[in-house]
C-alpha cells in the first residue's frame, strides 16, 4: 500500500516537472538557437494601438474585481467544507445533512444580500 502511495506522488512530481520543463526548455534553450534577435526601440515599446503609450499602465482598476474575488473566496471555502462532508456523507447520517443545510442556508443568505445590493451586476 505504501509503495503505491509513494509511486503515485512520484508520478505527480514527474508530471509537474514535465509541465515546467516544456515551456522553459522551448522558450529559453531551444528557441534562442532558432529565432532571430534584432531588438530595436520601436519593437520594445509597449503596444497601444500604434500610438506612443501614455503614462504608466499599472493604473487603478474597477473595485468590482475585488468584490468578485471576495465572493469567490467565500464560496470556494464553502466548497472546501463541502468536499470532505460529501465523501463521508454515508457514514455521518442525518445529523450531517441538517448541519450542512444550515451551513448552506447561511451562505445563501449572503448570496441573496449581495444580489439585492446589486453587487452581482456588472455595470
Amino acid at each position: 500500500m505504501s509503495a503505491i502511495y509513494a509511486n503515485n506522488y512520484v508520478i505527480v512530481a514527474i508530471f509537474l516537472l514535465l509541465g515546467i520543463l516544456l515551456p522553459v526548455a522551448t522558450v529559453h534553450f531551444v528557441g534562442p538557437l532558432l529565432r532571430p534577435k534584432r531588438p530595436n526601440e520601436e519593437k520594445l515599446k509597449t503596444y497601444e494601438s500604434g500610438n506612443d503609450p501614455i503614462g504608466n499602465s499599472w493604473v487603478r482598476f474597477n473595485v468590482k474585481y475585488y468584490i468578485f474575488a471576495l465572493m469567490f473566496v467565500i464560496f470556494d471555502v464553502e466548497t472546501l467544507f463541502l468536499y470532505p462532508w460529501a465523501v463521508a456523507y454515508n457514514q455521518l447520517g442525518l445529523f450531517a445533512l441538517v448541519e450542512m443545510v444550515i451551513f448552506i442556508t447561511l451562505l445563501v443568505i449572503g448570496l441573496i444580500y449581495a444580489w439585492r445590493k446589486k453587487v452581482l451586476e456588472w455595470s
Binding site: F15, P23, K37, F75, T79, A86
Partner: protein
Amino acid sequence: MTSLLEQTPSLLNVVLLALAAVALLAVVLGFVTYAIYFERKIIGWMQLRPGPNRVGPLGLLQTVADVAKLLLKEDTRPKSADKALFALAPVLAYGPAFAVLAVMPFSENIGFADLGIGVLYYIALSSITILGVITAGWASNNKWSLIGGLRSAAQMISYEVPLVMSVVGIILMTGSLNLRDIVEAQRDVWNIIPQFFAFCVFLIAAQAELNRSPFDLPEAESELVAGYHVEYSGFRFAMFMLAEYVYMFGMGSLITILFLGGWLPPIEALGFIPGIVWFILKFSLYVFLQFWLRATMPRIRADQLMSFAWKGLLPVALINILLTAFFVSYSNGSF
C-alpha cells in the same frame, strides 16, 4: 502501468514512469495539433468553406507549419515589462494544464497516478492557471493586457465556483474523490442521468473555464485586441495557446470520467470492445461539441457573463447538492 505502481519506488521505475509521462505528453501534443486542424476544418465546413487545405495533403500539416512559424518568430518583450513575471506567466499557465493529466484514468489499465483525492487534485491545480493569466496581464505593463487579464481572472473565478460545486453531487453518490471509484460506481447508470443538472452546470462552467465560445471574452479581438497576451510573441504566446488546448484535453477527460462513465460501454453486451475505445469516443464527442458551439454561438455580453454565473449556475448547483443529499439519505433509509 498498474504493475509498476505496486513495486517499491526505485530509480529504474522512476525512469520508466518518466518515459510513460513523456509518451503521454507526445499524445497530448499530437491531440492539440490535430484538434486545432479539425477545429478549423469543421468550422469551415459548417460555414460552407473548405477550411485549411494547402499545407500538406488535405491541409494536414497546417498546424505543424503554424507551430514551426511560432518557434522561429522573434521573441519580443517590451522594455517596460516586469522581466521576471513576464517569463514566469507562460510557465504558470501551462505547467498545471499538463500536471492535471497525472490523475486521469483512461481505461481499466491505462492511467497514471491513482490518487485518493483525484477530483480535488484536478480542481486545485487547474486554479493556478488563473494566476498565470493575471500575472501575464500585469507583467506586460500594457493597458489592454491589464484589463484583459483582470477580466479573464474575474470570469474564471466566477465560473469556478459552480464548476466545483456541481461535482459535489457525484461525490455524494460515490462517497469517494478517486476518479477510478467514480467510474466504477457508474456500472449501472452513468452519472449524466441522475446528475443531469450538475452535468449542465458543469458543461457551461467548463466552457467559461476554458475561455471558449460563447465565453471567449478574454480573447475578444474586437474590443481587447487579444487580452492578457497582447505583448507575448513567438513561443511564449504558443504556450498560452497550448495551455488552452491541453485544458480542453483535461476537461474532456474529466467530463468523460465524471459524467459519461469513463471507459465503460453504454450497454454490457458491447463490453468486448476495449475500454480505451469507449473513452476516446466519448472524449471526441465532447471535443466535437466544443467546435460545434464555436461555430454556432455568438459571444455573450460582459455584464451578462458575471451575473449568469452567480445568479444562474450557482443556485442550481446548490439546489442540486441538497437534492442529491436528500435522495442519498432517503435511499439509505435514514428517513
